[in-house]
Protein backbone atom coordinates (compact mmCIF):
# COMPACT_ATOMS: atom_id res chain seq x y z
CA UNK A 1 0.00 0.00 0.00
CA UNK A 2 2.23 2.79 -1.22
CA UNK A 3 1.85 6.38 -0.13
CA UNK A 4 0.54 7.34 -3.56
CA UNK A 5 -2.30 4.83 -3.33
CA UNK A 6 -3.27 6.03 0.14
CA UNK A 7 -3.35 9.66 -0.97
CA UNK A 8 -5.35 8.69 -4.07
CA UNK A 9 -7.99 6.90 -2.01
CA UNK A 10 -8.30 9.72 0.49
CA UNK A 11 -8.76 12.32 -2.25
CA UNK A 12 -11.09 10.07 -4.25
CA UNK A 13 -13.31 9.48 -1.21
CA UNK A 14 -13.42 13.22 -0.52
CA UNK A 15 -14.38 13.91 -4.15
CA UNK A 16 -17.16 11.31 -4.20
CA UNK A 17 -18.50 12.44 -0.82
CA UNK A 18 -18.54 16.01 -2.08
CA UNK A 19 -20.46 14.99 -5.20
CA UNK A 20 -22.98 12.99 -3.15
CA UNK A 21 -23.35 15.95 -0.83
CA UNK A 22 -24.09 18.15 -3.85
CA UNK A 23 -27.09 15.93 -4.60
CA UNK A 24 -28.31 15.52 -1.04
CA UNK A 25 -28.11 19.11 0.22
CA UNK A 26 -31.28 21.15 0.05
CA UNK A 27 -29.86 24.65 0.04
CA UNK A 28 -27.96 25.65 -3.12
CA UNK A 29 -25.22 27.35 -1.11
CA UNK A 30 -24.37 24.06 0.57
CA UNK A 31 -24.34 22.38 -2.84
CA UNK A 32 -21.93 25.06 -4.06
CA UNK A 33 -19.66 24.49 -1.07
CA UNK A 34 -19.67 20.75 -1.76
CA UNK A 35 -18.73 21.40 -5.37
CA UNK A 36 -15.79 23.52 -4.19
CA UNK A 37 -14.66 20.60 -2.03
CA UNK A 38 -14.84 18.32 -5.10
CA UNK A 39 -12.75 20.77 -7.11
CA UNK A 40 -10.07 21.08 -4.46
CA UNK A 41 -9.91 17.28 -4.17
CA UNK A 42 -9.54 17.03 -7.94
CA UNK A 43 -6.77 19.61 -7.84
CA UNK A 44 -5.02 17.38 -5.32
CA UNK A 45 -5.41 14.45 -7.72
CA UNK A 46 -3.92 16.49 -10.55
CA UNK A 47 -0.94 17.25 -8.32
CA UNK A 48 -0.61 13.55 -7.59
CA UNK A 49 -0.45 12.90 -11.34
CA UNK A 50 2.28 15.48 -11.78
CA UNK A 51 0.17 18.12 -13.51
CA UNK A 52 1.12 20.97 -11.20
CA UNK A 53 0.16 23.90 -13.44
CA UNK A 54 -3.24 22.40 -14.20
CA UNK A 55 -3.85 21.88 -10.46
CA UNK A 56 -3.03 25.51 -9.73
CA UNK A 57 -5.18 26.76 -12.62
CA UNK A 58 -8.05 24.54 -11.46
CA UNK A 59 -8.02 26.15 -8.03
CA UNK A 60 -7.43 29.70 -9.22
CA UNK A 61 -9.92 29.74 -12.11
CA UNK A 62 -12.51 27.11 -11.25
CA UNK A 63 -12.42 27.34 -7.48
CA UNK A 64 -11.55 31.00 -7.16
CA UNK A 65 -13.52 32.62 -9.93
CA UNK A 66 -16.27 30.42 -11.40
CA UNK A 67 -17.54 29.12 -8.07
CA UNK A 68 -17.37 32.62 -6.59
CA UNK A 69 -19.62 33.68 -9.46
CA UNK A 70 -22.05 30.90 -8.56
CA UNK A 71 -22.05 31.90 -4.91
CA UNK A 72 -22.63 35.56 -5.76
CA UNK A 73 -25.60 34.66 -7.94
CA UNK A 74 -27.07 32.42 -5.23
CA UNK A 75 -26.69 35.19 -2.67
CA UNK A 76 -28.08 37.89 -4.95
CA UNK A 77 -31.09 35.86 -6.04
CA UNK A 78 -31.77 34.93 -2.42
CA UNK A 79 -32.13 31.27 -3.32
CA UNK A 80 -33.89 29.37 -0.61
CA UNK A 81 -34.12 25.72 0.21
CA UNK A 82 -35.79 23.46 -2.29
CA UNK A 83 -39.36 22.62 -1.40
CA UNK A 84 -40.10 19.06 -0.54
CA UNK A 85 -42.62 17.72 -3.02
CA UNK A 86 -43.89 14.27 -3.51
CA UNK A 87 -41.29 12.46 -5.46
CA UNK A 88 -42.65 10.60 -8.40
CA UNK A 89 -42.23 6.94 -7.55
CA UNK A 90 -41.25 6.12 -11.09
CA UNK A 91 -38.43 8.62 -10.93
CA UNK A 92 -37.06 7.13 -7.73
CA UNK A 93 -37.36 3.43 -8.56
CA UNK A 94 -36.42 3.58 -12.22
CA UNK A 95 -34.19 6.60 -12.26
CA UNK A 96 -31.50 5.61 -9.81
CA UNK A 97 -30.86 2.13 -11.24
CA UNK A 98 -30.75 3.69 -14.69
CA UNK A 99 -28.18 6.23 -13.51
CA UNK A 100 -26.11 3.44 -11.99
CA UNK A 101 -26.36 1.55 -15.29
CA UNK A 102 -25.19 4.56 -17.33
CA UNK A 103 -22.30 5.11 -14.94
CA UNK A 104 -21.36 1.44 -15.17
CA UNK A 105 -21.41 1.59 -18.94
CA UNK A 106 -19.12 4.60 -19.06
CA UNK A 107 -16.81 3.12 -16.43
CA UNK A 108 -16.59 -0.20 -18.28
CA UNK A 109 -15.81 1.55 -21.57
CA UNK A 110 -13.10 3.69 -19.99
CA UNK A 111 -11.47 0.94 -17.97
CA UNK A 112 -11.49 -1.44 -20.93
CA UNK A 113 -9.63 1.10 -23.01
CA UNK A 114 -6.64 0.78 -20.72
CA UNK A 115 -6.44 -2.91 -21.45
CA UNK A 116 -6.51 -2.56 -25.19
CA UNK A 117 -3.70 -1.54 -27.53
CA UNK A 118 -0.66 0.30 -26.39
CA UNK A 119 -1.97 2.24 -23.41
CA UNK A 120 0.23 1.44 -20.41
CA UNK A 121 -1.58 0.41 -17.26
CA UNK A 122 -0.07 3.14 -15.17
CA UNK A 123 1.92 6.26 -15.79
CA UNK A 124 5.43 6.58 -14.44
CA UNK A 125 5.55 7.73 -10.88
CA UNK A 126 7.01 11.09 -10.04
CA UNK A 127 6.96 12.66 -13.49
CA UNK A 128 6.26 16.36 -13.38
CA UNK A 129 4.97 18.26 -16.37
CA UNK A 130 6.75 21.58 -16.31
CA UNK A 131 4.93 24.78 -17.14
CA UNK A 132 7.50 25.43 -19.83
CA UNK A 133 6.41 22.30 -21.72
CA UNK A 134 2.77 23.30 -21.50
CA UNK A 135 3.42 26.84 -22.66
CA UNK A 136 5.54 25.61 -25.56
CA UNK A 137 2.66 23.44 -26.69
CA UNK A 138 0.13 26.17 -26.13
CA UNK A 139 1.91 28.61 -28.39
CA UNK A 140 3.05 26.23 -31.13
CA UNK A 141 0.70 23.29 -31.69
CA UNK A 142 -2.35 24.77 -30.05
CA UNK A 143 -2.10 28.41 -30.99
CA UNK A 144 -5.29 28.31 -33.06
CA UNK A 145 -7.54 27.02 -30.24
CA UNK A 146 -5.75 29.44 -27.91
CA UNK A 147 -6.65 32.47 -29.99
CA UNK A 148 -10.18 31.14 -30.49
CA UNK A 149 -10.74 30.76 -26.75
CA UNK A 150 -9.53 34.29 -26.08
CA UNK A 151 -12.07 35.48 -28.64
CA UNK A 152 -14.68 33.29 -26.96
CA UNK A 153 -14.01 34.92 -23.59
CA UNK A 154 -14.37 38.36 -25.13
CA UNK A 155 -17.74 37.36 -26.59
CA UNK A 156 -18.80 35.88 -23.25
CA UNK A 157 -17.90 39.10 -21.41
CA UNK A 158 -19.92 41.16 -23.88
CA UNK A 159 -22.82 38.73 -23.62
CA UNK A 160 -22.83 38.79 -19.83
CA UNK A 161 -22.77 42.60 -19.77
CA UNK A 162 -25.64 42.85 -22.27
CA UNK A 163 -27.68 40.27 -20.37
CA UNK A 164 -27.19 41.94 -17.02
CA UNK A 165 -28.16 45.42 -18.15
CA UNK A 166 -31.32 46.86 -16.80
CA UNK A 167 -33.96 47.74 -19.33
CA UNK A 168 -34.33 51.50 -19.49
Amino acid sequence: MSAELVIFFVLAVIAVLGAVSLIIQRHPIHSALSLIVVMVALAGLYLLMGAEFVAAVQIIVYGGAIMVLFIFVIMLLNAGEEERTNFSKLALYAGIPMAVAVTGLIAAALVNSTRATSLPAAGAAGTLTSTRTLSNLLFTDFVYPFELTSFLILVAILGAIVLAQREN
Binding site: H27, I29, H30, L33, I36, A43, E52, F53, A56, I59, I60, G63, G64, A65, V68, I71, F72, M75, L76, L128, S130, T131
Partner: protein
Protein backbone atom coordinates in the same frame (compact mmCIF):
# COMPACT_ATOMS: atom_id res chain seq x y z
CA UNK B 1 14.48 5.67 18.78
CA UNK B 2 17.03 7.03 16.36
CA UNK B 3 15.90 4.55 13.73
CA UNK B 4 12.28 5.55 14.12
CA UNK B 5 13.23 9.19 13.72
CA UNK B 6 15.32 8.50 10.64
CA UNK B 7 12.60 6.44 8.98
CA UNK B 8 9.82 8.91 9.60
CA UNK B 9 11.94 12.06 9.34
CA UNK B 10 10.00 13.16 6.28
CA UNK B 11 6.90 13.52 8.51
CA UNK B 12 8.40 14.60 11.82
CA UNK B 13 10.71 17.36 10.58
CA UNK B 14 7.98 19.28 8.72
CA UNK B 15 5.62 18.93 11.69
CA UNK B 16 8.22 20.39 14.03
CA UNK B 17 8.90 23.21 11.56
CA UNK B 18 5.18 23.92 11.26
CA UNK B 19 4.83 24.08 15.03
CA UNK B 20 7.74 26.51 15.33
CA UNK B 21 6.51 28.66 12.44
CA UNK B 22 2.92 28.87 13.68
CA UNK B 23 4.14 29.82 17.14
CA UNK B 24 6.43 32.52 15.77
CA UNK B 25 3.81 33.89 13.38
CA UNK B 26 1.10 34.09 16.03
CA UNK B 27 3.45 35.93 18.36
CA UNK B 28 4.48 38.31 15.60
CA UNK B 29 0.77 38.87 14.84
CA UNK B 30 0.10 39.78 18.43
CA UNK B 31 3.01 42.19 18.61
CA UNK B 32 2.08 43.59 15.22
CA UNK B 33 -1.12 44.84 16.79
CA UNK B 34 1.01 46.48 19.48
CA UNK B 35 3.29 48.10 16.89
CA UNK B 36 0.26 49.29 14.93
CA UNK B 37 -1.38 50.92 17.91
CA UNK B 38 1.85 52.53 19.08
CA UNK B 39 2.85 53.85 15.65
CA UNK B 40 -0.60 55.19 14.79
CA UNK B 41 -0.77 56.79 18.21
CA UNK B 42 2.55 58.54 17.77
CA UNK B 43 1.50 59.70 14.31
CA UNK B 44 -1.59 61.17 15.92
CA UNK B 45 0.47 62.86 18.69
CA UNK B 46 -0.70 60.68 21.54
CA UNK B 47 0.66 57.69 23.40
CA UNK B 48 -0.68 54.28 22.52
CA UNK B 49 -1.09 51.45 25.00
CA UNK B 50 1.00 52.47 27.94
CA UNK B 51 -0.30 50.97 31.11
CA UNK B 52 -0.48 47.22 30.57
CA UNK B 53 3.13 46.30 31.18
CA UNK B 54 6.13 48.50 30.40
CA UNK B 55 5.44 50.58 27.28
CA UNK B 56 2.22 48.63 26.81
CA UNK B 57 4.12 45.51 25.82
CA UNK B 58 1.66 43.19 27.57
CA UNK B 59 -1.33 44.71 25.75
CA UNK B 60 -1.57 41.86 23.20
CA UNK B 61 -1.65 39.41 26.09
CA UNK B 62 -4.52 41.33 27.66
CA UNK B 63 -6.34 41.36 24.33
CA UNK B 64 -5.89 37.63 23.97
CA UNK B 65 -7.27 36.98 27.44
CA UNK B 66 -10.22 39.23 26.65
CA UNK B 67 -10.96 37.29 23.47
CA UNK B 68 -10.93 34.02 25.35
CA UNK B 69 -13.26 35.13 28.12
CA UNK B 70 -15.75 37.12 26.06
CA UNK B 71 -19.15 35.63 25.35
CA UNK B 72 -19.48 34.10 21.91
CA UNK B 73 -23.10 34.61 20.88
CA UNK B 74 -24.59 33.20 17.72
CA UNK B 75 -27.35 35.33 16.21
CA UNK B 76 -30.68 33.72 15.43
CA UNK B 77 -31.42 32.68 11.89
CA UNK B 78 -27.85 32.25 10.76
CA UNK B 79 -26.88 29.47 8.44
CA UNK B 80 -24.95 27.36 10.94
CA UNK B 81 -22.63 25.62 8.51
CA UNK B 82 -21.52 28.77 6.73
CA UNK B 83 -21.35 30.78 9.97
CA UNK B 84 -18.90 28.35 11.55
CA UNK B 85 -17.00 27.68 8.35
CA UNK B 86 -16.20 31.26 7.34
CA UNK B 87 -13.65 32.29 10.00
CA UNK B 88 -12.21 28.79 9.91
CA UNK B 89 -11.58 28.98 6.16
CA UNK B 90 -10.11 32.46 6.40
CA UNK B 91 -7.70 31.60 9.17
CA UNK B 92 -6.73 28.24 7.66
CA UNK B 93 -5.93 29.77 4.28
CA UNK B 94 -3.99 32.66 5.79
CA UNK B 95 -1.82 30.31 7.83
CA UNK B 96 -1.38 27.81 4.96
CA UNK B 97 0.03 30.46 2.68
CA UNK B 98 3.05 30.73 4.98
CA UNK B 99 4.03 27.16 4.20
CA UNK B 100 5.56 27.86 0.81
CA UNK B 101 7.55 30.97 1.70
CA UNK B 102 11.32 30.45 1.98
CA UNK B 103 12.79 32.42 4.84
CA UNK B 104 16.49 31.87 4.35
CA UNK B 105 19.07 30.40 2.03
CA UNK B 106 20.50 27.61 4.13
CA UNK B 107 19.97 23.97 3.46
CA UNK B 108 20.68 21.53 6.24
CA UNK B 109 20.28 17.82 6.89
CA UNK B 110 18.40 16.57 9.92
CA UNK B 111 18.31 12.81 10.57
CA UNK B 112 19.19 12.19 6.96
CA UNK B 113 16.39 14.39 5.68
CA UNK B 114 17.48 17.32 3.54
CA UNK B 115 15.55 20.47 4.06
CA UNK B 116 15.77 24.23 3.89
CA UNK B 117 14.46 27.10 5.95
CA UNK B 118 10.83 27.19 4.98
CA UNK B 119 8.30 24.43 5.34
CA UNK B 120 7.70 23.27 1.79
CA UNK B 121 9.87 23.79 -1.22
CA UNK B 122 7.59 23.36 -4.22
CA UNK B 123 8.22 24.18 -7.84
CA UNK B 124 5.14 26.32 -8.15
CA UNK B 125 5.17 28.16 -4.83
CA UNK B 126 4.03 31.41 -6.44
CA UNK B 127 1.03 29.71 -8.03
CA UNK B 128 0.15 28.07 -4.72
CA UNK B 129 0.11 31.50 -3.10
CA UNK B 130 -2.22 32.82 -5.78
CA UNK B 131 -4.48 29.80 -5.41
CA UNK B 132 -4.76 30.48 -1.68
CA UNK B 133 -5.47 34.16 -2.32
CA UNK B 134 -8.20 33.15 -4.76
CA UNK B 135 -9.82 30.84 -2.22
CA UNK B 136 -9.78 33.38 0.60
CA UNK B 137 -12.62 35.28 -1.09
CA UNK B 138 -14.94 32.57 0.21
CA UNK B 139 -14.28 33.34 3.84
CA UNK B 140 -15.42 36.91 3.39
CA UNK B 141 -18.42 36.15 1.15
CA UNK B 142 -19.72 33.35 3.39
CA UNK B 143 -19.21 35.43 6.54
CA UNK B 144 -21.22 38.26 5.09
CA UNK B 145 -24.04 36.05 3.87
CA UNK B 146 -24.32 33.70 6.81
CA UNK B 147 -24.80 36.44 9.37
CA UNK B 148 -28.43 37.00 8.39
CA UNK B 149 -28.00 40.77 8.57
CA UNK B 150 -28.24 43.41 5.86
CA UNK B 151 -25.05 45.21 6.89
CA UNK B 152 -23.04 42.04 6.89
CA UNK B 153 -24.37 40.90 3.53
CA UNK B 154 -23.60 44.22 1.87
CA UNK B 155 -20.20 44.43 3.49
CA UNK B 156 -19.38 40.86 2.55
CA UNK B 157 -20.41 41.28 -1.08
CA UNK B 158 -18.55 44.56 -1.42
CA UNK B 159 -15.46 43.17 0.19
CA UNK B 160 -15.38 40.02 -1.92
CA UNK B 161 -16.04 41.99 -5.11
CA UNK B 162 -13.11 44.22 -4.18
CA UNK B 163 -10.88 41.23 -3.52
CA UNK B 164 -11.72 39.61 -6.85
CA UNK B 165 -11.13 42.81 -8.79
CA UNK B 166 -7.71 43.43 -7.30
CA UNK B 167 -6.71 39.79 -7.55
CA UNK B 168 -6.34 40.17 -11.31
CA UNK B 169 -4.03 43.16 -11.00
CA UNK B 170 -2.07 41.32 -8.28
CA UNK B 171 -1.48 38.28 -10.47
CA UNK B 172 -0.58 40.25 -13.56
CA UNK B 173 1.84 42.58 -11.79
CA UNK B 174 3.94 39.59 -10.80
CA UNK B 175 4.25 38.23 -14.35
CA UNK B 176 7.11 40.65 -15.02
CA UNK B 177 9.13 39.10 -12.21
CA UNK B 178 8.31 35.64 -13.55
CA UNK B 179 9.53 36.58 -17.01
CA UNK B 180 12.82 37.80 -15.58
CA UNK B 181 13.40 34.83 -13.31
CA UNK B 182 11.96 32.17 -15.59
CA UNK B 183 10.59 30.02 -12.79
CA UNK B 184 7.64 29.92 -10.43
CA UNK B 185 9.63 28.82 -7.42
CA UNK B 186 10.18 31.63 -4.90
CA UNK B 187 13.62 30.32 -3.98
CA UNK B 188 14.66 30.49 -7.64
CA UNK B 189 13.35 34.06 -7.89
CA UNK B 190 15.54 35.15 -4.99
CA UNK B 191 18.57 33.25 -6.27
CA UNK B 192 18.13 34.86 -9.65
CA UNK B 193 18.54 38.29 -8.12
CA UNK B 194 22.12 37.41 -7.24
CA UNK B 195 24.31 39.15 -4.72
CA UNK B 196 27.32 40.36 -6.65
CA UNK B 197 26.16 43.94 -6.94
CA UNK B 198 24.10 44.04 -3.79
CA UNK B 199 21.25 46.49 -3.98
CA UNK B 200 21.49 47.16 -7.70
CA UNK B 201 20.66 43.63 -8.81
CA UNK B 202 17.33 43.41 -7.03
CA UNK B 203 14.16 43.14 -9.05
CA UNK B 204 12.88 46.51 -7.89
CA UNK B 205 14.85 48.38 -10.54
CA UNK B 206 13.66 46.61 -13.68
CA UNK B 207 10.19 46.15 -12.21
CA UNK B 208 9.35 49.37 -10.40
CA UNK B 209 5.91 49.60 -12.07
CA UNK B 210 5.26 45.97 -11.23
CA UNK B 211 6.20 46.55 -7.61
CA UNK B 212 3.91 49.56 -7.24
CA UNK B 213 0.99 47.68 -8.84
CA UNK B 214 1.69 44.65 -6.67
CA UNK B 215 1.84 46.60 -3.45
CA UNK B 216 -1.33 48.60 -4.13
CA UNK B 217 -3.22 45.49 -5.22
CA UNK B 218 -1.98 43.61 -2.16
CA UNK B 219 -3.23 46.31 0.18
CA UNK B 220 -6.63 46.05 -1.49
CA UNK B 221 -6.54 42.26 -1.20
CA UNK B 222 -5.90 42.36 2.52
CA UNK B 223 -8.64 44.95 3.05
CA UNK B 224 -6.37 47.51 4.67
CA UNK B 225 -6.54 51.29 4.58
CA UNK B 226 -6.99 53.02 2.17
CA UNK B 227 -9.10 50.18 0.76
CA UNK B 228 -10.91 49.13 3.90
CA UNK B 229 -14.35 50.58 3.27
CA UNK B 230 -16.09 47.20 3.61
CA UNK B 231 -14.87 46.76 7.15
CA UNK B 232 -14.53 50.31 8.41
CA UNK B 233 -16.33 50.96 11.66
CA UNK B 234 -17.90 54.21 10.66
CA UNK B 235 -19.34 52.92 7.43
CA UNK B 236 -21.18 49.62 7.53
CA UNK B 237 -20.93 49.01 11.26
CA UNK B 238 -18.11 46.53 10.88
CA UNK B 239 -18.95 45.08 7.51
CA UNK B 240 -18.86 41.36 7.09
CA UNK B 241 -17.66 40.60 10.59
CA UNK B 242 -20.35 42.59 12.42
CA UNK B 243 -22.09 39.56 13.83
CA UNK B 244 -18.94 37.77 14.90
CA UNK B 245 -17.72 38.12 18.47
CA UNK B 246 -14.81 36.97 20.60
CA UNK B 247 -13.08 33.87 19.27
CA UNK B 248 -14.46 33.94 15.73
CA UNK B 249 -13.68 37.64 15.40
CA UNK B 250 -10.20 36.90 16.72
CA UNK B 251 -9.81 34.39 13.89
CA UNK B 252 -10.65 37.05 11.28
CA UNK B 253 -8.32 39.44 13.01
CA UNK B 254 -5.40 37.01 13.09
CA UNK B 255 -6.08 36.05 9.47
CA UNK B 256 -5.89 39.69 8.40
CA UNK B 257 -2.56 40.31 10.11
CA UNK B 258 -1.15 37.02 8.87
CA UNK B 259 -2.04 37.88 5.31
CA UNK B 260 -0.32 41.23 5.84
CA UNK B 261 2.80 39.35 6.85
CA UNK B 262 2.50 37.02 3.85
CA UNK B 263 2.17 39.91 1.44
CA UNK B 264 5.18 41.66 2.96
CA UNK B 265 7.21 38.45 2.66
CA UNK B 266 6.13 38.13 -0.98
CA UNK B 267 7.07 41.72 -1.76
CA UNK B 268 10.54 41.27 -0.25
CA UNK B 269 11.13 37.96 -2.02
CA UNK B 270 10.01 39.08 -5.44
CA UNK B 271 11.19 42.66 -5.61
CA UNK B 272 13.69 43.29 -2.85
CA UNK B 273 15.99 40.32 -2.97
CA UNK B 274 14.54 38.25 -0.13
CA UNK B 275 17.38 37.28 2.13
CA UNK B 276 20.12 38.97 0.09
CA UNK B 277 22.02 41.78 1.73
CA UNK B 278 21.88 45.19 0.05
CA UNK B 279 25.64 45.46 0.23
CA UNK B 280 27.79 43.62 -2.32
CA UNK B 281 29.00 40.24 -1.17
CA UNK B 282 32.61 41.38 -1.12
CA UNK B 283 31.97 43.85 1.74
CA UNK B 284 32.20 41.25 4.50
CA UNK B 285 32.45 43.83 7.24
CA UNK B 286 28.72 44.42 6.81
CA UNK B 287 28.19 41.02 8.44
CA UNK B 288 28.52 42.80 11.78
CA UNK B 289 25.45 44.95 11.12
CA UNK B 290 23.11 42.88 13.35
CA UNK B 291 25.46 43.34 16.29
CA UNK B 292 25.97 47.01 15.50
CA UNK B 293 22.21 47.43 15.72
CA UNK B 294 21.53 45.14 18.68
CA UNK B 295 24.17 46.32 21.14
CA UNK B 296 23.26 50.04 21.24
CA UNK B 297 19.55 49.15 21.26
CA UNK B 298 20.03 46.79 24.19
CA UNK B 299 22.02 49.41 26.10
CA UNK B 300 19.33 52.00 25.43
CA UNK B 301 16.62 49.65 26.72
CA UNK B 302 18.64 49.12 29.91
CA UNK B 303 19.14 52.85 30.32
CA UNK B 304 15.45 53.57 29.71
CA UNK B 305 14.36 50.73 31.96
CA UNK B 306 16.31 51.91 34.95
CA UNK B 307 14.44 55.22 34.91
CA UNK B 308 10.98 53.77 34.10
CA UNK B 309 8.05 55.03 36.08
CA UNK B 310 6.73 51.88 37.75
CA UNK B 311 8.47 49.08 39.55
CA UNK B 312 7.48 46.33 37.14
CA UNK B 313 9.09 48.21 34.25
CA UNK B 314 12.20 48.91 36.32
CA UNK B 315 12.59 45.18 36.88
CA UNK B 316 11.72 43.80 33.46
CA UNK B 317 13.16 46.28 30.99
CA UNK B 318 16.80 46.12 32.12
CA UNK B 319 16.65 42.32 31.88
CA UNK B 320 15.29 42.52 28.34
CA UNK B 321 17.97 45.05 27.44
CA UNK B 322 20.70 42.88 28.95
CA UNK B 323 19.53 39.86 26.95
CA UNK B 324 19.59 41.86 23.71
CA UNK B 325 23.08 43.19 24.46
CA UNK B 326 24.36 39.71 25.23
CA UNK B 327 22.93 38.38 21.97
CA UNK B 328 24.66 41.19 20.09
CA UNK B 329 27.98 40.49 21.81
CA UNK B 330 27.57 36.76 21.26
CA UNK B 331 27.11 37.33 17.53
CA UNK B 332 30.43 39.16 17.39
CA UNK B 333 32.22 36.46 19.32
CA UNK B 334 30.89 33.46 17.35
CA UNK B 335 31.32 34.06 13.59
CA UNK B 336 29.64 30.81 12.44
CA UNK B 337 26.42 31.83 14.17
CA UNK B 338 26.76 35.31 12.73
CA UNK B 339 27.08 33.97 9.20
CA UNK B 340 24.13 31.66 9.68
CA UNK B 341 21.72 34.39 10.67
CA UNK B 342 22.67 36.91 7.98
CA UNK B 343 20.00 35.74 5.53
CA UNK B 344 17.22 35.62 8.10
CA UNK B 345 18.25 38.99 9.55
CA UNK B 346 17.98 40.77 6.21
CA UNK B 347 14.72 38.99 5.38
CA UNK B 348 13.13 40.00 8.67
CA UNK B 349 14.44 43.55 8.38
CA UNK B 350 12.79 43.99 4.99
CA UNK B 351 9.53 42.35 6.07
CA UNK B 352 9.31 44.62 9.08
CA UNK B 353 9.98 47.63 6.89
CA UNK B 354 6.99 46.67 4.76
CA UNK B 355 4.82 46.09 7.81
CA UNK B 356 5.83 49.52 9.07
CA UNK B 357 4.81 51.03 5.72
CA UNK B 358 1.44 49.26 6.04
CA UNK B 359 0.88 50.73 9.50
CA UNK B 360 2.17 54.13 8.40
CA UNK B 361 -0.40 54.21 5.60
CA UNK B 362 -3.15 53.35 8.03
CA UNK B 363 -2.25 56.31 10.16
CA UNK B 364 -1.95 58.74 7.31
CA UNK B 365 -4.34 58.08 4.45
CA UNK B 366 -8.14 58.50 4.26
CA UNK B 367 -10.11 55.71 2.71
CA UNK B 368 -11.45 55.34 -0.80
CA UNK B 369 -15.13 55.44 -1.55
CA UNK B 370 -16.36 52.16 -2.98
CA UNK B 371 -16.96 53.31 -6.54
CA UNK B 372 -13.62 55.12 -6.61
CA UNK B 373 -12.01 51.94 -5.37
CA UNK B 374 -13.56 49.72 -8.06
CA UNK B 375 -12.90 52.13 -10.91
CA UNK B 376 -9.29 52.50 -9.74
CA UNK B 377 -8.84 48.75 -9.76
CA UNK B 378 -10.39 48.06 -13.13
CA UNK B 379 -9.64 51.20 -15.10
CA UNK B 380 -6.17 52.06 -13.86
CA UNK B 381 -4.38 49.24 -12.10
CA UNK B 382 -5.31 46.40 -14.46
CA UNK B 383 -4.28 48.23 -17.68
CA UNK B 384 -1.04 49.37 -16.04
CA UNK B 385 -0.22 45.78 -15.00
CA UNK B 386 -0.90 44.52 -18.52
CA UNK B 387 1.27 47.32 -19.92
CA UNK B 388 4.02 46.26 -17.51
CA UNK B 389 3.86 42.68 -18.82
CA UNK B 390 4.03 43.84 -22.44
CA UNK B 391 6.89 46.23 -21.70
CA UNK B 392 8.88 43.60 -19.80
CA UNK B 393 8.49 41.00 -22.53
CA UNK B 394 9.45 43.56 -25.19
CA UNK B 395 12.63 44.45 -23.31
CA UNK B 396 13.51 40.79 -22.76
CA UNK B 397 13.01 40.02 -26.45
CA UNK B 398 15.09 43.02 -27.47
CA UNK B 399 17.86 41.97 -25.08
CA UNK B 400 17.89 38.47 -26.54
CA UNK B 401 18.98 39.82 -29.91
Amino acid sequence: MNEFLTQYAFLIVPIVKIAILVFIVLTVDAYLTWIERKVIAHIQARWGPHRVGPHGLLQPLADGVKFIFKEDPMPAGVDKVAYFLAPFITLMLALTSLAVIPFGPQRFTVFGYQTGIGIADVNISLLVLFAITALSVYGVALAGWASNSKYSLLGGLRSSAQMISYELALTLSVVGVLLIAGDFSLREIVDHQGSAHGLLSWNIFPQIIGFLCFFIAAIAETNRVPFDLPEAESELVAGFHTEYASMKFAMFFIAEYTSMITVSCLATIMFFGGWLSPFPASWTFTHYLPSVLLIPFGLWVIFDGIRYENLFGRMVLPVVGAVLTLIGVGLVLFPPVNDAIQGIFWFLAKVFTFLFVYVWMRGTLPRFRYDQLMSFGWKFLLPVSIANVILTSAVILWRMH
